[in-house]
Subunit: 353 residues, 2 copies
DNA sequence: CTGAAAGCGCTTACAG
DNA sequence: CTGAAAGCGCTTACAG
């Protein structure tokens, strides 16, 4: 804004010699207008350099043609790619995206939701920072703002649609691949180390971060293969490369080190990969390694990294579509879509020697 | 929206037993209100679940507290990182970001600008798709929407601020590094091959894409080193890995191949790196390679890639700050900031054997 | 097809 | 400090 006296519809109407109602109809493409009026109004608008005030329009129509997207970090390739999927499907439908970076902080997420709500977005796609905290999301739905959960579920939000990856299955495939190759001592590098105790008892799928779901999947996949899980082989790391490096090193230092390592995320994978290299371990002969997500570097390193490829872009596309559907379909039974990840075997995995 | 009868300020005022003016002042934090009124209004608002209608507020105040950001591709790590820089500095200042993906298409960019303008954003940060087309940006500035150019300039937009990288200097450093090591036949992989003829004559810095500026920088750096440029060593590629792979292969197939290769972008660098690997060339002994941008993979591959590191995150931060300054400073002489890139020498460069 | 009038939900002088 | 009234710039019944 800040523009000093931008021409309004009243100005255009006066210039065209019609009523504001007619001018509005001609410019907005609604209602009936004669060709003659339409032309005169169009001319007048062009002459004056008229731009519709979307604020005023939205206030009346009840639609802003804007969607909120809340993620923890846009610069993370995962979210950046999903975001691209979202905009690719919503922009052609006439929606713009209002982006908010929560930094993984629930309070920031709460504030962002409030802002989105005040700005009257038509719907929101959110990757909840903390699956256990869903009250603010439920509230949004209550006041009529459709919510689609992306990548992870949240508890206490029964009416939110969701689009997630079948992480349990994804990890099962990865572990299955290693078992088939003959591995029995399979380690895991995870950022859900803190949920370990929690996982042992509960079986709540709702309200778990992907990392925790993957860790649980790791245990059940081992069980399915008849392998007794050894918690010594769980390398807990924070979400950064250095920490993963240390966790991997720790496992490799074991008296009986694992012959294979599963990383539940690509940031962790890069740390583990580096740790293996620095130790002079030859992959896959001396160590098999599996990562998550098919990023460029995984094909550039030697050996190329075997990965579980998530359909990240598609995740965004599906979430966008689901939100659009919900926006014009109105409230109703929540829909939950689960996309399948795919194992891409490359040269970092082989039979143990 | 869509919410059926959300409570308005009138409802809150009635519930609190005050006028809408007082209710508005209490909730909006402007004007004078007695503590007593403030409390009653706050209670009433909480009871009713009142949410301010930002649309109505913005219409009056003339500010939406929203910034537009237009880039060609959010999923590109470069833009994703810059975007994070933008939100990190503008969100704390109370601004939200309206994101638009132009796909590098000027028409899409024009449409996006129009939408941003109708939505009355307080300002716009844009990485112009085509530096030669700036009319729509100039128009936005004319109607009072501050514009900050990101990463590249555009012609015909004299009043836009800009934050860019000093690409000329960045390339000069890279070439200088190679020359110092003793290289004389230095090839370049570029996506600005089409601008070659254009570059030979003109010297317009304005309105050139970074890739073209870098290519020009390559030529002038060679000249500075007293090396006669050999256009045979210019490998033109499209903006994808495969094309860069082919371009690099073409140069390496030359009767007199280059001993060093400069890639003006990291996507191109990954293609060239792969090409060198596939040819069995040992880096840096048989070929020196330099990339752009310091992405994770550059330290994961062996040898680690020597790169020109752009301050991408900072680019976003600076652009965000500049826009905020402009928004509360009002129009004035355009400011142009140029950030310096830095050469990070790793193991992919050495003296030619 | 057209227009006069009401109204969306706020904030802002203005007067008290 | 408080309130009645005007007004931001549109769209929407309603009547013609």
């Amino acid at each position: 804004m800040t523009e000093r006296g931008a021409p309004s519809l009243i100005d255009v109407a006066r210039e065209a010699g019609v009523s504001t109602a007619t001018a509005g109809r001609a410019l907005g493409g609604y209602g009936k207008v004669s060709q003659r009026s339409r032309d005169r109004v169009a001319d007048a608008a062009a002459r004056l350099g008229y731009r519709t005030n979307g604020l005023a329009r939205s206030m009346i129509t009840g639609s802003t043609q804007t969607l909120g997207v809340l993620v923890s970090d846009v610069s993370n390739p995962f979210f950046a790619t999903a975001l691209r999927g979202i905009t690719d499907v919503t922009q052609p439908a006439g929606f713009e995206v209002l982006l908010s970076n929560t930094g993984g902080d629930v309070d920031a997420e709460r504030r962002a939701m409030a802002v989105m709500s005040e700005k009257r977005v038509d719907g929101v796609i959110v990757a909840p920072a903390l699956p256990s905290e869903g009250a603010h999301l439920a509230r949004a739905i209550d006041v009529g703002v459709p919510v689609v959960l992306l990548d992870r579920l949240a508890s206490g939000v029964p009416n939110a649609d969701s689009v997630t990856i079948d992480n349990e299955h994804a990890v099962a495939e990865a572990v299955g691949h290693l078992v088939e190759l003959g591995h029995r001592r399979i380690g895991v590098i995870t950022e859900a180390g803190g949920d370990l105790a929690h996982l042992r008892k509960g079986n709540r799928k709702r309200g778990l971060l992907p990392s925790a779901v993957r860790l649980r999947g790791y245990f059940s996949a081992l069980a399915d293969a008849g392998i007794t899980a050894d918690e010594t082989l769980v390398g807990a790391a924070r979400y950064d490369r250095e920490s993963a490096y240390d966790a991997a090193t720790g496992l490799l230092d074991l008296a009986e080190p694992p012959t294979a390592l599963l990383c539940t995320d690509n940031v962790l994978a890069s740390g583990a990969y580096r740790a293996a290299q620095d130790r002079g371990l030859r992959m896959p002969r001396e160590l098999s390694l599996i990562g998550f997500d098919d990023e460029p570097w995984t094909t550039l390193v030697r050996p190329g990294l075997t990965v579980v490829e998530q359909p990240t872009y598609d995740l965004g596309v599906r979430a966008g579509k689901q939100l659009l559907d919900r926006i014009d379909g109105g409230p109703g039974r929540a829909r939950h879509a689960q996309l399948q990840a795919k194992l891409v075997a490359r040269d970092s995995t082989a039979s143990p020697r």
